[in-house]
């Protein structure tokens, strides 16, 4: 007699292994649910952190990384200093500087909704004089109303940063809308969109330099002449790729007499750091996902043990029909893996959908890291194998005569 091992074709193997799933689909679905929930949680966490990171990086791309900020710093003795009046003009002369804008912070002026608000409730808002080209340099825009123009820079007219407008309770612009700024009424011309590269602007009320000089007394004397200023922050756009070179020159150019009293920074660095932080996933939810996976594995193991007990006679019949112990083991192991992988696939799909919906509301690009879905499926395979191993070994060790005795 020739003994050729009767090996099942992959198709027959799958058919045999999926008997339990096909006969009891509800039970299979419920037992795979735990794994589905765990995988969905993990995929969604990884997908959301990757998508929010991608969203921030896209924002950085839009804003550009070639902006440098020059600010007045502190002297050696800790006193606040000022930038020279002609700092912007000198910086313009530097090579690789494309364009610059500047604002002057008026520390003593506050802004209020109206004249009845107590002076102490300044709401953390600032009053700044601004050059006209500020918005172009910051890559931000007007949310409502209009920006300052050559006419309104001379008038008591202010434009509010996004946060300042919110704190003042102003969400639209209409004629004769006024705020109490520096002890007199100013008309509100417009409200800005958030400017991520210059968070200070968000909390500011902006007026023209001439208006600051005329109504708020923001003046310096330079060469015997009164001029509005000085600027406290200068926003510089430089040729991409030359940021470092220009950065090194900015402090001595802005204040040649005391370059150490000038702070130079690259605001996009902060955003980049925030993007990196967003890429780091929430370990609490990841932990919950892993717990759900473990619970799911217990569920699958439980169902497999019951399945092996219930299907003793089928098991015995298969042995009588010529199945080897190995084949019985493989059958139940494959069934367990199938169960877990089904749960894993459902989980990945749900996780991707959850990510897509959330990223959609935030206008992010949908990013599902490869390791998220492949890891989800791979961990399901491992869980299935692990959960099914013991029941499969039990099934294969059951003597066929005992298996057949049960009616």
């Amino acid at each position: 007699m020739s003994v050729i091992a009767g090996r099942l074709s992959p198709r027959d193997g799958l058919r045999v292994a999926s008997v339990g799933l096909r006969v009891r689909p509800l039970r299979a679905a419920l037992s795979a649910l735990g794994i589905a929930i765990g995988t969905a949680a993990i995929v969604a966490i990884l997908g959301l952190s990757a998508s929010s990171q991608a969203g921030l990086l896209a924002e950085i791309d839009r804003l550009g990384t070639n902006m440098l900020t020059v600010e007045a710093g502190q002297s050696l003795t800790g006193q606040e200093t000022q930038l020279p009046l002609d700092a912007p003009g000198r910086i313009t002369l530097l090579g690789d500087v494309q364009v610059l804008a500047h604002t002057g912070l008026m520390k003593n002026e506050k802004v209020y909704r109206n004249s009845m608000i107590p002076a102490a409730e300044s709401g953390g808002m600032q009053v700044r004089a601004s050059s006209l080209n500020l918005l172009a340099v910051l890559s931000t825009g007007i949310a409502r109303g209009a920006w300052l123009n050559a006419g309104t820079v001379h008038e008591p007219v202010a434009v509010l940063g996004a946060v300042a407008a919110e704190r003042l309770g102003i969400d639209r612009v209409y004629p004769d809308q006024r705020i109490w700024l520096g002890g007199r009424w100013f008309n509100v011309a417009g409200i800005l969109q958030p400017s991520p590269l210059a968070a200070d602007i968000d909390t500011s009320a902006l007026v023209g330099y001439p208006a600051a000089q005329k109504y708020l007394g923001y003046v310096s004397i330079a060469r015997g002449e009164q001029r509005a200023g000085p600027p406290s922050t200068i926003y510089v756009r430089v040729a991409t790729g030359h940021e470092a070179a220009v950065q090194a020159l900015l402090a001595p150019t802005a204040n040649p007499e005391a370059p150490d009293q000038v702070n130079v920074s690259q605001p996009s660095d902060v955003l980049t750091a925030r993007a990196a932080a967003a890429g780091a996933f929430d370990s609490l939810f990841l932990g919950l996902g892993i717990v759900a996976l473990i619970v799911g594995a217990v569920g699958v193991a439980n169902i497999m043990i019951i399945s092996v007990l219930e299907r003793r006679s089928e098991n015995g019949l298969r042995r009588a029909l010529g199945a080897t112990k190995q084949q019985i083991r493989t059958q139940f192991l494959t069934e367990s893996i199938l169960l877990a992988v089904l749960g894993g696939i459902v989980g990945v799909v749900v996780g991707v959908i959850a990510t897509a919906i959330y990223a959609g509301t935030k206008h992010w690009v949908i990013v599902i890291p490869v390791e998220a879905w492949s890891g989800g499926i791979a961990s399901a395979i491992v869980i299935g194998a692990f959960a099914g191993l013991m029941p499969a070994i039990r099934a294969s060790r059951l003597p066929p005569t005992v298996a057949l005795r049960t009616v």
């Binding site: 003994v3 074709s9 027959d12 006969v23 089928e314 029909l321 057949l404």
Partner: protein, 228 residues
């Protein structure tokens, strides 16, 4: 003539304290084409004998030869192949898969013999024709009567054209008339060439078959061939 099944001083002892001897030195041989009844009261060791003959259980001592091959020399894999190719089983409880069609159930008789799917289904249809169930191939077993189910189980045992079919109380779950038709089928299949060994506690049924081996307390008390 070659013996398809040969038992030589087979014993089977269960347990340790105290050991229970289910078979005490059983010897007989079955030739190709025979139709044999193993008859005995319950507890006589019939079921153990079936399991040992079917290589589902190894004897404590003695030799079981299937088609001349000593089963004790084979490992689990080779022994499984003997069951897949040389032995067909028919059980009192039928053991049909309820989720699968009649054709699939019969074709599964060849699943572990390594036959490709197309051949399995072709031979399943042939086997179903032999048991007179060609018109039921796409039915689920739950839609069939008890007699029809047992015919499906017999077709599954025959589908691989085994050297011997071992039937354990094949009429035990059936009423008289249906049981009689199954006995008729078994005789027909034997005439057509199948070697069949039937285990029963019913002396009347056994008496209808050409050879009866009587078992009492794990020993063969008589082995008679009808001369008719």
């Amino acid at each position: 003539m070659t013996a398809v099944l040969e038992l030589d001083a087979v014993t089977k002892v269960y347990g340790e304290q105290p050991p229970v001897a289910a078979l005490r030195g059983v010897s007989f041989s079955v030739q190709r084409g025979e139709l044999v009844a193993v008859v005995g009261p319950s507890g006589s060791g019939k079921s153990t004998l079936l399991h040992v003959m079917g290589t589902l259980e190894r004897p404590s001592s003695g030799v079981v030869r299937i088609d001349g091959v000593d089963a004790a020399q084979l490992d689990d894999r080779a022994l499984s192949q003997v069951r897949a190719r040389q032995i067909g089983f028919v059980f009192q409880q039928f053991f049909l898969a309820e989720h699968a069609t009649v054709r699939e159930n019969v074709a599964d008789g060849l699943l572990y013999a390594g036959a490709p799917a197309a051949e399995r289904y072709e031979r399943a249809d042939e086997a179903l024709e032999r048991v007179g169930l060609s018109h039921r191939t796409t039915f689920k077993p739950t839609k069939l009567s008890g007699g029809e189910r047992q015919r499906v189980a017999i077709a599954r045992a025959l589908v691989g054209r085994p050297a011997i079919v071992l039937a354990d109380e094949p009429t035990g779950n059936l009423d008289m008339t249906t049981g009689a038709s199954i006995m008729e089928l078994i005789r027909e299949l034997n005439v057509a060439g199948a070697t069949i060994m039937m285990i029963t506690h019913d002396g009347g049924l056994a008496g209808q078959l050409p050879r009866q081996i009587r078992i009492v307390d794990g020993q063969v008390v008589s082995d008679a061939k009808a001369t008719a």
